[in-house]
Amino acid sequence: MKRFIGFIKKEFFHIFRDRRSLFILFGMPIAQILLFGFAITNEINNVDIAILDHSKDATTKEIINKISASKYFTIKQMVVREADIASVFKKGQVKAVLNFEKDFSKNLIKDNKATVQIITDATDPNIANTISNYVNAILQKYQKELNKDITIAYQIIPETRMVYNPELKSVYMFVPGVMTIILMLVSAMMTSISITREKELGTMEILLVSPIKPFQVIIGKVFPYIFLSIINAVVIVMLSIFIFNMPVQGSLFLLGIESVLFIISALALGILISTISETQQTAMMISLMGLMLPVILLSGFIFPISSMPEPLQIISHIIPAKWFIIIIKGIMLKGVGIQFIWKETLILLVMTVFFIGLSVKKYKIRLE
């Protein structure tokens, strides 16, 4: 037992002496959370648009003012001819052009109808759609004002209630995701590198020949990273709560336990990676290229899983991160207890046991 403790102590020394890596280990999550909280968002603000006004009458001026006053849009320039629209888009100067037809006011009075084209640069379809919707909303509001003296019969008015995130803050979406990604990457990558390094240096054989049992070696290697990952998780949650006012509706204790479970699953993955890597370089590349992108893209972190094609949805089932994100969102934003997320927890548990079992088996094979 004393030997084992001595071994764990050595592992801790390794980690804490490597200042540069330590800096990244802790600095990375903090930087990411801050970025996501303050800079990364899908909401649109001050989008540059241009106006092509064929009428230049009182009504178009009013509408243009309303759009200009909106915090979503900035009117960057006026376009003179239709032919100029393409060049303005190609230069990337504006994201949309509003094209008011000729005789706008006249048509409104005469035919009760006038037309505006909302031309968007749809290379980013999401932004284009959002811009379209927002401009449309402003125009609809204006239209309502024009008709405020007319009562329209048979109106069904939907009253919408946004729950769990009434202000539609994108931070709420991202924080659980970032936490998951960091824990997964750090745990899996660090563990796989730590073990492969011993292999590369040749000290692994020395360890295996010593009286310490193989499984003790693995646990000893992994233990400090559990500790570090927990610290990371705590830091991330604290930052979210205090800087972004993210709620933790549910039990912090439950959150803690689930996080530890996830960390262990990530560590087990790391061990698995180390069994198939001969060098540190391979372990790192597999962790980064083979783990990072799939986890970011398929875990529901940024892109909703339900919108993906069937085969990818199925693949996402085997990614532990996907289940953990559901669990975190449930606990932090919905305030659910274990009775609502027992299914996901069980799945995570089974995966963890599976990874550990697989790693142990692979290690036994190598030793023989």
Binding site: A39, K91, Q140, L146, V163, K334
Partner: protein
């Protein structure tokens, strides 16, 4: 001059002999390009929909039927009570719940207006917004048809004034998110591979001792660096080529602009990344450290590059910071050239900034590489 060729020859031999790394450098990224681009979409589909019908009339059933018929909404579940619907939302079984009040049909005919309750899971704020738009659209459509049916000749209708808005989507009429994402992901892959390879390569020679051996030879700094980085430049360009072919074949991403222009720009861009890799390797002693530091910067740069979320949405201070992010330029240029057909003058400001970055970065890297310590 010849010395450079010897180094280049050696590097290529080593790259192709490393059987473990070759698939990671070429196959893995391209596999990811293909698979993961399919995942990237902000479209909101298959919305899990539930409803509480307190009215049980032909009108209420007709309204529910509208949602059933819509392709956006999925898995229609009827709930007998609000409590059960809430519980289902907590479990994640539904994301949008429509509550039709009692006397819905009666009130509509008598009072001529009515309210509908809509509850939306807003954890994903952006998706919630879109879901709301869809719900509103369906309700409004239903409303229009209802009006036509219910309208009595006694009801004098004054025609409301209407502003017709026609949305036109240029360069991507079908709003295909993949068209947008694939070039971006390609940028990401080319960047990551070239950065990690170049960063770790020199550190590895440090670790095994051959770097010292080379430092004792009369080889010039510049010869060594050029010889070392050139093969990775080739790898980057090769990745770009294969990626573009896949983009066309599998995703049918348009290539409106000049291929030559894209290649010319990319050749400068890769120099920036290689310079960064070299710079990092000059300050680290182990491959692990080099990897970590590279990873740290890459993730931050990627997040701030406009690849996943638009730069225009960032606060002003963040937008200024992105001026120093090389990835941002490549992402913009590749999208402009491929999807819009932008030409040389259109991307000139971006290209110049990238060139400046390349000169500064490589200058720093070469200067900080010391043969004598």
């Amino acid at each position: 001059m010849k010395t450079i060729l010897y180094i280049i020859q050696k590097e290529f031999k080593q790259i192709f002999r490393n059987k473990g790394m070759l698939p990671i450098i070429f196959i893995l990224p391209l596999l990811q390009l293909v698979i993961l681009s399919n995942a990237a979409t902000f479209e909101v589909k298959n919305i899990k929909f539930g409803y509480i019908d307190n009215d049980h009339t032909t009108t209420s059933r007709a309204l529910v039927e509208q949602f059933n018929a819509s392709t956006y909404f999925d898995m229609l579940t009827g709930f007998p009570s609000e409590a059960l619907a809430s519980s289902a939302m907590l479990k994640g079984k539904v994301d949008v719940v429509l509550e039709i009040p009692r006397y819905f049909e009666r009130d509509l005919q008598k009072e001529k207006h009515n309210n509908l309750g809509v509850t939306i899971n807003a954890i994903d704020g952006a998706a919630a917004g879109v879901e709301n738009v869809y719900v509103t659209q369906i309700v409004q459509n239903f409303n229009q048809h209802l009006k036509v049916d219910l309208l009595q000749p006694s009801d004098k209708q004054i025609q409301p004034t209407k502003i017709d808005t026609i949305p036109l989507f240029w360069y991507n009429e079908t709003l295909n998110y993949k068209t947008f994402m694939v070039p971006g992901i390609l940028v990401l892959l080319v960047t990551m591979i070239t950065l990690f390879l170049s960063g770790m390569n020199i550190v590895r020679e440090k670790e095994i001792g051959t770097l010292e051996q080379i430092n004792v030879t009369p080889i010039k700094k510049s010869q060594f660096i050029i010889g070392k980085l050139f093969p990775f430049w080739v790898v980057g360009m090769a990745l770009l080529t294969i990626g573009l072919i896949l983009a066309k074949l599998i995703f049918d991403v348009p290539m409106l602009g000049s291929l030559l222009l894209l290649y010319a720009y990319t050749s400068i861009y890769i120099l920036v990344i290689l310079g960064m890799g070299l710079f990092i390797s000059n300050f680290t002693d182990t491959q692990q450290q080099a990897m970590f530091i590279a990873w740290f910067f890459v993730v931050i740069f990627i997040l701030m590059s406009g690849l996943f979320t638009p730069i225009e949405s960032m606060p002003k201070w963040a937008q200024i910071v992105t001026e120093f992010n090389p990835i941002k330029y490549f992402v913009e240029v590749i999208r402009m050239v491929m999807l819009k057909g932008s030409g040389f003058t259109d991307i000139l400001p971006l290209a110049l900034k990238t060139l400046a970055y390349a000169i500064v970065m490589n200058g720093l890297a070469v200067w900080s590489y010391k043969k004598t310590n």
